[in-house]
Symmetry: C2
Subunit: 413 residues, 2 copies
């Protein structure tokens, strides 16, 4: 492609037949509380006294004033770091390696702005060596999880060039629910209702990514990474944002987002698959429905919008629906939860992961499951394959909450 192609593609965006990059383990950690729509009713009833939605009894949402960004930071350093450490332990456990073999940590959050970043405290809790190369991504909101995997992939290829092993720990963590108290203040003061408060949830997720240089005894790759694409939709900054505020961050999400996002997916899919030899050869004609999709569940109309615009089935998107229904949108941390969910059920051999963030940015990645395919479907071993991520593999998650499957009920987005 030409450097000045309208979609912004260059020769740099074409991938080799085998990047030799794999994801060796996943870990997802959701906090124990789950609130249904009735929590919003509770919230509405309480607005003239004190609000409580995130954790109903959480002190931070039961004080007279909304928590400040400093109080949220103090809380993140405890709860965010704890969730992150749990998720990382699951991912490292599934990988099966020694934490001291971790060469890089790539992290992201949009609900914390501390120096040192939360990744420092996560590293320390995990006992990973102090010289590990750390990268904490910011400014990318919900697309952060996939941007972190992309960045980790690029860094790992840097180690490949040096013929050195790379074992990159990727971590995304968001504590979004406590922002509801600040949103209520805006509702009360500005008489403006923003949708963000209805969508967000808390989560940390992690994976270990390898360049497959050196030995990895006991590791059993989950996905190979085939290629990726990052794009900014033109002149859409005002449609999707996460603006910093004394009381945390405020979601900007216009009603245009589902349409803008849905329209961008097909061209990006075409470009991405065209840049990956094993996906565009004559023997492998590919349409979107030939893939399973790990779509970031930004909201239900984004999922249904992409489903219609791209020509997918509910089955292609089952993991996105399930995570959204059961856990909500945890911003950057969601995509790895969806990817982790997807690999635990039967499905297509190849997977497209896709997320949107402020900008509007689009992140897309093509992955291949490592289990042998039969008739275009993948046979997975369920629990035995995924010792580190029991959250997503049974009818009951680690918090003892039964999972449900189905399409979301009517929801504004």
């Amino acid at each position: 492609m030409h450097p000045t192609a309208p979609n912004g593609a260059t020769a740099h965006d074409h991938f080799e037949d085998d990047l030799n990059l794999s994801i060796l383990g996943f870990g997802v950690d959701y906090p124990p509380y789950r609130h249904g729509p009735e929590a919003l009713e509770t919230l509405a009833n309480r607005i003239e006294t004190r609000a409580s939605v995130g954790y109903v009894d959480h002190p931070l949402v039961n004080q007279p004033e909304p928590p400040t960004i400093k109080q949220l930071d103090d809380n993140f350093r405890e709860e965010g770091v704890r969730l992150s450490v749990n998720a990382c332990k699951k991912a490292i456990d599934e990988w099966g390696g020694n934490p001291n073999e971790i060469t890089h940590i790539v992290s992201t959050t949009c609900t914390n702005s501390a120096n040192p970043g939360f990744d420092h405290f996560v590293r320390k809790e995990l006992g990973i060596r102090s010289g590990v190369e750390r990268v904490l991504l910011h400014g990318i909101g919900c697309s952060g999880g996939l941007a972190a995997i992309r960045t980790a992939s690029n860094l790992a290829l840097g180690s490949s060039y040096r013929k050195k092993p790379a074992r990159v720990l990727v971590v995304a963590c968001e504590i979004s629910t406590l922002l509801v108290r600040s949103e209520l203040e805006s509702v009360d003061r500005d008489q403006a209702v923003r949708i963000g408060v209805c969508l967000f949830s808390d989560c940390a997720s992690a994976c270990v990514l390898s360049n497959n240089v050196g030995n990895d005894t006991g590791s059993n790759p989950v996905f190979d990474i085939l290629g990726w694409k990052h794009e900014i939709l033109q002149d859409t900054e005002k449609d999707l944002g996460f603006d910093v505020d004394p009381m945390g961050w405020k979601v900007i999400l216009t009603t245009q987002v589902p349409a803008l996002a849905s329209a961008a997916v097909s061209p990006a899919f075409e470009e991405l698959t065209a840049s990956i030899p094993s996906l565009c050869g004559p023997d492998r004609p590919r349409k979107p429905a030939d893939f399973d999709w790990a779509l970031h569940p930004g909201g239900s109309t984004i999922i249904t919008g992409v489903q219609q615009a791209v020509g997918l089935t509910e089955a292609n998107l089952r993991a996105s629906y399930e995570i959204y229904m059961n856990y909500g949108n945890s911003s950057s941390a969601t995509i790895m939860a969806v990817m982790n969910k997807l690999r635990s059920s039967e499905g297509k051999e190849d997977v497209v992961a896709c997320a949107f963030g402020p900008g509007i940015s689009l992140e897309m990645m093509a992955l291949r499951r490592r289990k042998p395919a039969t008739n275009g479907h993948v046979e997975l071993n369920g629990h035995s394959k995924t010792k580190g991520s029991s959250l997503m593999n049974g009818s009951t998650d680690t918090n003892g909450i039964p999972e449900a499957f189905g399409l979301p009920a009517e929801e504004v987005d």
Copy 2:
């Protein structure tokens, strides 16, 4: 080295003889105002009415209340983006390439927390293609500039593995001076004086980094990158930090920092040079004073402390002293200003860049000037070499302010 070496080094930390990474251009942009110590007196006299230090007449420091993190964000989006675009234009101009050949943008700031990040707006202003891969680093404070060059180097090597050109635009930008109004509020309310307010200044700096794959007509490398080291000093989180607050960020800087930092430099230098073949061969015995040093001028006692602890001369550190004297500590943006300053005067062939940030993190990088060496010194062409960075090359900078050279006067740190 063994994975469990106390200093955290592993085989991954050893470098090849030629990474083939170069810096092709620099750009530094300081805002037009420069305030001496008398500004603090002004500040002290005004504390019971309104404070004004950064820009004496800047509206944000002349309102009854300190600016909020949201107001600082609005200001950063204007002034920070403008400074950054200026710095990037200088770096791209010196490199001489087409902005559309930029493959990655690696940015950092610790004085902004917007989504999308400021790098999005800088990219847009520069007219760089929307598909360029962006990485915005956070949580690393003053070490951000060097961490960004390290990350850019790793990413560029990823492109080397794929045999594709990488031209990475590295940008660091900080608007720190407006935080003084919030610091004054703390002084007034808590009767606590923190040193940060005396040290900080505003700046954007940039460079273009290349993996030297593909053609670069007209480019004339400034530095080759030989290797790097990242380290966290054990249990020092409480000594150096930059805590988020409704009124921006608050500097944590204990009196231990100069001693902690100075003590860490020699071991890191030994390890780094031992990991780089061309610096540890039998024909090249190396001691710290054989290098010029681009030390981040965190404060004058950090510079003098490192000078004494490591056995350097004022001449080795001249660029750090000059930037500190004339422009102050601009956090992450400072190190590239020092590197840019250093290359414009005669000096050693090899350079160590070193910065400290919250954690306490230590970033160190070894570079080699590309001009031919004579008797261990480098002959530089001055202005003709550095068309894009006139700021640092004459007796008068772009703002028409004469530069001075000398050791700083007595200063608390």
